[in-house]
Amino acid sequence: MRYLPLTEADRSDMLAVIGAPSVDSLFRDVPESVRLAGPVDLPAHQGELEVECALTAMAAENVPAGSVPFFLGAGAYRHHVPASVDHLIQRGEFLTSYTPYQPEVSQGTLQYLFEFQSQVALITGMDVANASMYDGATSCAEAALMARRVTKRPNVVLSGGLHPHYGETTETLLKFLDSKIDAMPADIDGTEDIVSRIGADTACVIVQYPDLFGRVRDLQPVADACHDAGALLVVAMTEIVALGALRSPGEMGADIVAAEGRSLGNPLNFGGPYVGLFACSDRHVRQMPGRLAGETVDVDGKRGWVLTLSTREQHIRREKATSNICTNSGLCALAFTIHMSLLGEDGFRRLAALNHVKAVQLADRFAAAGIEVLNQTFFNEMTVRLSGPAAPEVDRLAAEGVLAGVPVSRLLPNDDRARDLLLVAVTETATEDDMDRLVAALTETV
């Protein structure tokens, strides 16, 4: 068996050194009634070729996003990842290393985490960022927990423009704590008055930027209203490429930014693994969940990095920890960092501009074809109203080889207003031809 180095000779020699008659005898603490006599009822071992054939067949049943005109967003956006990224993250010293608990032999990991933290702080306009969370939704939920600790207040207000998965994840994490969640109805018209929902018991307000429907709005008035009331503003983001074109949440008064970073460096992966970004103000840093890499020097005076402020974390504070989180999203964070390093200031801004330009071109085409776009503003995603239910149309178009977008009813199945709405995202990967095919397909529908 190719992953097992021990030979039969090794095994018997080692048993002799141990002084045990058999490997079974080493399991003598296992109650006899529960010892399995032989292997469980699953297939026996296979070589690489057979495993490859089996899984390749499963993969072949699927329609990869890149093989057809593709316009899905709704929390996950398809971007081109430069070839170098995947090569670098597969270096064994990155792929097969562990959490950097022995910093002397983990400076590679610690330095890139420091670079990652710096990049995230820069693009979000915040003071400090952690070394990543599982994904944007759990990041958002952790932000709510943190806001409760900082303000010592129990309740949370969720904007109707927040991705339903983010809202549900937040509600779930707070479910057994003494917390009232005010989840506003879906903000389809873009007219919600969230400020009026802030009360003396509000720990934070959570808004999304751009929102679920793709809209962009100035968050400064919401931030001001929160601060006047002693609450925090949490800004959730599902598409961080937007930060290459838009004013940052930090510049608008956000206290915490909880974002999905997967757009850079990482493929769509059918939902995971993703990489959550978490950034906040300096004054709250000790309440921040997750790992942190910090700069220091060694005994020779040379600059290096270590995990720091660990006393917040589960392995020390235990029940008083800021979170129970243990893993970060390591390799996905590295992929983000490398992609961002390749982009640089110019590349990041240019990438964002390209996304927005394509979106504007698509919106103009929709307008010319008489297809209603609800948005006044957008970055790279917009909401389109069809003449009938969007979900069956999307299925029909998929069978014809166009992945047209995400029907809002997939995320909001109980909201009648959502039935005819379609979320359409367009990135730098969409071609003119793709856009033509999409418009033609939807024109038939309308």
């Binding site: 992953y3 097992l4 180095p5 021990l6 141990i18 080493l26 603490d29 296992v30 010892r35 699953l42 071992h45 296979q46 495993v51 490859e52 067949a57 499963m58 990869p64 996003a65 093989s67 170098s84 670098l88 990155f94 792929l95 097969t96 290393s97 562990y98 950097p100 002397e104 032999v105 983990s106 702080a121 693009i123 759990t138 927990l145 509600e171 057994f176 074109a245 004013r247 493929p267 059918f270 942190l292 005994v299 270590v306 589960q314 029940e319 008083k320 129970n324 989180i325 243990c326 390591g330 390749l342 982009l343 640089g344 200031e345 110019d346 240019r350 504007v360 503003t377 998929a398 199945p413």
Partner: protein, 510 residues
């Protein structure tokens, strides 16, 4: 002696292949980039007047520079691919590259989670197949696939338990954990609104059954146990523990971090477990990636299965379907909520299934046998020079304490740092907290006997040196690593958590 004794003696400060590499921010040239993107044509933008003005501050590097930068960083890391990594309870086994190849097939990697179900049947099939393997290996009827990591799975298990108790109208107030528990256990309990009470261990390193029984009452929601436990021992009274927990109307949660010891030999379902998380990134070889990503599916008993979180995969008339909403969940399912966006760590599912299929049922059983054999071999060859915390046999990991260092002025930490100079990553230190100066070693089944012998010989040598009074050498270690001991106090007192451009101006002014 101070730091001067290790001057490199080179002009650059480099030492052969060991390069001193600055931050990317220190290699910036404005206008430079590592990508070629076309000029965006001018359009009337629709950003609502919220255009970004001002500089972000990201550095500009070309592709060769970026590749060189991260290559050099990688060379400063220890990894499984480089050497023995005996971290207790982490299961640092070999990460097969077949897994990486298959996870990258466009038919898996290039799928959007919200694509129409007809276009992702193979992906849903994979999740369903993996779920079947997991249920069969654990002897449990149900599994929640979405948790993103072990601690997340733990949270899922405890939330499911509380949801079930609330459905009975009896949420209860406390969770019991052993003294030796991992820190995530009490942290998780607190998020579920439970107070935590610790149960002491007996002289044999197992949970004290009498103490457990006397703590169990109508206020206890759950008992959280790691089995094999964090001392590397099988909880031999686990059947009695399960009985006592159920008699009290509570649920039995098992932390499955150490499943590598018993996979294919024992079914957790036969032990009376109600819920158990697995770490795909430990037992099932998905890579640790410098700290993540992981994946923590949770197996559930019949009593808990109905409360599992969204989403899950079902067989429908027209193939596989995803249940993503409460309203879509067929009775008796009453999901307590959702753990994260989308479906779970699909990339890790592909890798874990490839690994399971490669080993097969026979290979997985052989793997756990070899893991336990290797750990007992370490115990046998080291117990005369190190101080084992408990009598053997152990399971897949072995626990020592620092008794053997008494009177030497060498601590567990010093001993570990000396191991670094010998070319090994140290074992887990100072965990579990129940013994003094703990050293917890888990070799895994992917270490050869030669590798173990080399490790043992080096440790025997170090132990002898420590006992012979060479404390100074241990205090100075490591001297050969890319960095020597780092000042963690300064890092925590005056945290520097990011690059700040003002730093350059300040340094220039000094």
């Amino acid at each position: 002696m101070d730091g001067k004794m290790t001057e490199t003696g080179t002009y650059t400060g480099n030492r052969g292949l060991r390069i001193e590499e600055p931050l990317i921010f220190e290699q910036d040239a404005p206008g430079r980039s590592g990508v070629d993107l076309p000029d965006p044509p001018p359009v009337q933008n629709r950003l609502g007047g919220l255009d970004r003005t001002g500089v972000i501050g990201l550095p500009g590097l070309s592709e060769p520079q970026v590749v060189r930068h991260y290559t050099r960083l990688s060379q400063k890391n220890y990894a499984i691919d480089s050497g023995f990594y005996p971290l207790g309870s982490c299961t640092m086994k070999h990460n097969p590259r077949l897994n990486e190849k298959l996870a990258r097939l466009p038919g898996f990697a290039d799928l959007h989670p919200l694509q129409p179900e007809a276009t992702v049947q193979g992906a849903l099939r994979l999740i369903d197949t993996l779920a079947h393997w997991i249920k069969t290996l654990t002897g449990m009827p149900a599994v929640a696939m979405s948790p993103a990591a072990g601690a997340h799975g733990e949270l899922c298990g405890l939330m499911t338990s509380r949801a079930a108790l609330e459905a009975r109208g009896d949420a209860r107030k406390r969770v019991l954990v052993p003294d030796s528990a991992h820190g995530t256990n009490p942290a998780t309990a607190a998020i579920c609104g439970y107070a935590v009470e610790a149960i002491p261990l007996n002289a044999h390193g197992r949970v004290d059954l009498a103490a457990l029984k006397s703590a169990l009452d109508g206020d206890v929601a759950a008992f959280m146990l790691t089995n094999p436990n964090t001392c590397g021992l099988f909880e031999d009274e686990i059947l009695e523990q399960a009985q006592a927990v159920h008699d009290a109307g509570a649920f039995f949660y098992c932390d499955g971090a150490n499943f590598n010891a018993i996979m294919g030999r024992v079914l957790p379902g036969d032990l009376g477990i109600d819920c158990m998380h697995l770490n795909l990134h430990k037992t099932f070889s998905t890579p640790h990636g410098g700290g993540g990503p992981g994946s923590g599916p949770v197996v559930l008993s019949d009593a808990l299965a109905s409360y599992a979180p969204l989403p899950w995969v079902v067989h429908g008339e027209n193939g596989f379907r995803l249940v993503e909403h409460k309203g879509d969940a067929a009775a008796p399912a009453v999901p307590y909520g959702r753990m994260k966006a989308f479906h779970g760590q699909m990339g890790m599912f592909v890798r874990a299934l490839a690994y399971m299929m490669s080993h097969g049922s026979d290979g997985l059983r052989q793997a756990s046998s070899d893991a336990v054999l290797n750990a007992n071999y370490l115990l046998a060859r080291l117990s005369d020079v190190l101080s084992a915390a408990y009598d053997g046999p152990c399971m897949h990991e072995v626990l020592f304490d620092d008794h053997f260092l008494k009177g030497t002025d060498v601590t567990t930490l010093d001993f570990a740092k000396a191991m670094i100079d010998e070319g090994f990553h140290p074992m887990t230190m100072y965990f579990p907290l129940v013994v003094h100066g703990a050293l917890l070693m888990e070799p895994t089944e992917t270490e050869s006997r030669e590798s173990l012998d080399q490790f043992v010989d080096a440790l025997r040598h170090l132990a002898a040196r420590a006992k012979s009074g060479d404390a100074e050498a241990f205090h100075a270690a490591p001297i050969h690593a890319p960095r020597r001991r780092l000042d963690e106090t300064a890092a925590a007192r005056h945290p520097v958590l990011r690059w700040r451009p003002e730093k350059i101006l300040n340094e220039a002014a000094e």
